[in-house]
Homo-oligomer: 177 residues x 2
DNA sequence: TCAAATAGCACTAATCTAGTGCGCTTTGCC
DNA sequence: GGCAAAGCGCACTAGATTAGTGCTATTTGA
């Protein structure tokens, strides 16, 4: 449906939160260990589901986990190196845009590849979308969502000039268990 | 899942086919009346489903229908005026990217909009994707899929420079009934 | 009058997504 | 040592979305 899943939304919220926390903390992100509880109490995200998402992000190497009583998650890279493409890719696989070539690719073969008149062109579109997400860093997400942090940094540097319209992000509507 | 639906794929294939047919025909697209049968015999698309899709495109005003024995569909606008955004919009609604603001918007309210740290930034991304699709015309899809038509026209004019990677389009795998 | 085509509507089956349950392991702290 | 908090892993349920089909009516050219 050309829409991100809730999981991805939750993951993004969590990562933005973590980046923010790390940003306001002195030192090498020492206090930036964020627990699932902390996030799910701040945003109305089902705790268990958020835990699953962060686990996935951990498996993907985007965050690092610390077990135990005071455990939690920390960003594995700086918000400047973490891109939207990496996050989306980790949580819902490489974007396929079309059904062919959807992360398994094998058993489908979609029979008539040679006849398909939209493979190559749509391929280019997907690439464009992907490229857009690759150039969007976690930091750039941070900046635009937290105007109280810094006045307004080089958004034009990290984001293509075209991207200046009006979308809406989402937020869950369930309450933590 | 950040992926187009089969319906949209089918619609695109149909439109590309129609544009191609109209293009090779002399005169004001007189012979460019294309029937569902013709398309479903050329590509392995379930006929009935394709019919539904074309009907939707007709309702959206992107194609015009002619009933009766020699009936079929014709493009309502020139391939230069028909954009990917219009097509996708017609077949799966305006892209929302996030769950909030999904074409109904009302009953959700998603509770915590004020707290949501990703609304505005994701909004920008969606806009970028949308913009990309608005600048992609049916003609540009045609050109890249049918190299036998014209050598290679100004793809750079209709498509952002960044868009030059490698995606895959899809094609159905079912046979017409 | 027939045959081919669209129009409309409803329905089924499969897939995907959101969210939950439960028990285990790790670890800081008293 | 033991408790409590946190992550880990797996499996499961319910709802939503999607793909695809059935059937009948209407239009219209030959």
């Amino acid at each position: 449906m050309l829409q991100l899943t809730k999981r991805t939304e939750y993951g993004l919220i969590a990562l933005v939160h973590m980046a923010d926390r790390a940003g306001r903390t002195r030192g090498p992100a020492r206090d930036a260990v964020v627990s699932v509880r902390e996030i799910s109490e701040r945003y109305p995200i089902p705790r268990r589901l958020l835990a699953e998402v962060l686990k996935d992000l951990s498996h993907a190497g985007l965050v690092e986990s610390q077990r135990g009583a005071t455990g939690g998650y920390t960003l594995a890279r700086s918000p400047d190196e973490l891109t939207l493409a990496q996050i989306v890719g980790a949580l819902e696989g490489s974007p396929a845009l079309t059904s062919c070539e959807s992360h398994d690719g094998a058993h489908d073969t979609c029979g008539v590849v040679p006849v398909c008149p939209i493979r190559s062109p749509l391929s280019r579109i997907r690439a464009g979308i992907w490229s857009l997400m690759e150039r969007t860093t976690l930091r750039s997400l941070l900046q635009s969502s937290l105007p109280h942090t810094s006045p307004s940094i080089d958004l034009n540097g990290t984001m293509p000039a075209d991207v200046t319209l009006a979308l809406r992000g989402a937020v869950p509507h369930t309450s933590p268990s």
